[in-house]
Amino acid sequence: MHRCRIFQLTPLNMVNISIKSMPLLANINKVIARRTFATSKAAATKQMTVRDALNSAMDEEMERDERVFIIGEEVAQYDGAYKVTRGLWKKYGDKRVIDTPITEMGFTGIATGAAMAGLRPICEFMTFNFAMQAIDQIINSAGKTFYMSAGRVNVPIVFRGPNGAAAGVAAQHSQCYGAWYAHCPGLKVVSPYNSEDCKGLLKAAIRDPDPVVFLENEILYGVQYTMSDQALSKDFVLPIGKAKIERPGKHVTIIAHSKAVETSLEAAKELAGKGIEAEVINLRSLRPLDFDAIAKSVSKTNHLISVEQGWPTCGIGSEILARIMESETFFHLDQPAIRITGADVPMPYAKTLEAAALPTPKDVVEAAKKLLKVK
């Protein structure tokens, strides 16, 4: 799948939209004049897949810091189960790209111990579903040790791999763990969307002296995105804990992470055709969660939709809505904040059922129209 992500804004239709303060006309010039890319403003110089962005992030960091190494199943001689580590074993050898047996609990503990002793491991899980076997090491060993040692032993490890639903892999291979890991103090949790996100945030995660859970998305691995010159540089690092406004808007704030950002952007495109300018925020990180960005946006748009692929119960959307309730931002809402999530079911196999279990752009569009009372 090679798609270019370019969003073009059409002139607004003046439909019956409830707008709080700013007159539309004042903003139309600004809005039409800007040809908005899904990535940074600089002129597009290269298309890169998410897979290659991750690969180059790891390559650059391994070159920069000798302590960085990769450990996981099939990461070396197989070039990576999803080819994300392609070429790295050939370049760096056995010492720095280590194939493991299928023993998650064991190799995750080993990677964590190596981090405690001063190395910088990148521990790959073939998918985060298998990381459940190792979750004690991730949370109890990696996440809590800094606190329990009163700052003496930090754990500079990255746990990465595909998270959430793929296509047709059914219940045991489709769970989203964003909420599980974001729940835990001591961990940092990143859930990137496009190539720029993946490169900048993975580099940041590797350089970070704390344990980072890096949740990728298998379906996005092959998608090409524009990479600015800046994003292509060897020192391109994005801050963990800061969200990005993927698409500015004014009528409704749509918050998403990972694949759901794509869903939201497609919904925003459709909504624009109906005169609704949605502001799409790409969370980028789940812990720390950039609530300031959310608050700032909602105080402008007065409407909030949280979109995620994970289950609704105690999910990321629940957390966002709870924080809105508890903060001054609540008083900026014209309508209750709502969530669009994966269905609260184990993932089925049959295609129609699977489609019914995950959010689509249509779901987001319908929700926005309903919120804004647009037909």
Partner: protein, 384 residues
Amino acid sequence: IRANNNILRINNVTSVLNRNLAIETQPFDVYNLDDSPKTSAELSKEDALRYFEQMSFIRKMETAIGKMYTKKIIRGFCHLYSGEEAISVGLNAIMRPQDTVITSYRCHAWTYLMGDGLQPVIAELLGKKSGCSRGKGGSMHMYVKNFYGGNGIVGAHVPLGTGVALAHQYKKDDGICTTLFGDGASNQGQVFEAYNIAKLLSLPVIYGIENNNYAMGTSVVRSSAMKELYKKGNYVPGIRLDGMDVLAVREACRFAFDYIKSGKGPIILEFLTYRYGGHSMSDPGTSYRTREEVEEVRKNRDPLKLLKDKVIGSGLVTEDELKQIDEKAKKAVKEATDKSVADTEIAAEEVAYDIYSNYKGKVKMVQWSKYLDHKNVGFKPINL
């Protein structure tokens, strides 16, 4: 009978030249190995006094801790090492500055041996700011340089220690990591996963099984289909020895270190030992074993007594010298205890500090609108 340049035989002890004692240990059980640790251990007066002092300090410290626990000034879990001292002292005698250790929650002795003495241990248990984790870790989470805790989850630290060994190999720093765990932990799946990778990569790790015969209330006979724990590594060679004899421990560790230095990969040491106390302070330790059994070990196998008998009997050391050490230990424990009791806890705001080594932001507190700024006020992280 005084040690001199003559050869004397007392029981199974032979006195040799240079006023060092040659002591015979029990023979070692070996598995998958062509040779065995030496049963003849050489002991200088200096070493004898040092081992006795270290074991005394540990014994007195653990006893005092037990008393404080019953007085409820130590809370939560508290797992005492009384009876098992010889393992830590014997291994510590072989370690070089670049070597590392990791163990379970029965960690007070190691924190003392590798850290700054008794006071940071006792203060930590009392939750005070001079504790080795500033009161934030407690009994099970004590860390000092080259000692990676102090770990609460049974068996989880075995892969961790294997990872520390991987780091030694990666950095080529000639270090060896000894990963200690109990008979209960030895059945954990992740232990076998660790053995597997350690063997595949020839990691410099010694797996030290402190077999005190009981995993909480479950004896080895009931927990382990195969009771010869030193053989369970299968492709990893193993040695079983008397863990109450500090010299046997030392010689076995010496052998294990040499084995690892020759690049042959991991090795298992099964120390047969005993804990006088229960699994923890919540366990009286008498429902699954008889008082007679405990008394029998105290009388006939106590590590301090075993060492004392050897060194006094041969005249290497006098009763008086050992008595002095006893007093020294008593005094040191009292001093450390008094100092710790007088110390205070860290301020309540510190609950929100030192969660991350790199985080500038807020931490949500209990009340719905209360946030504290995260700060770093503790120790400087070692892995920046």
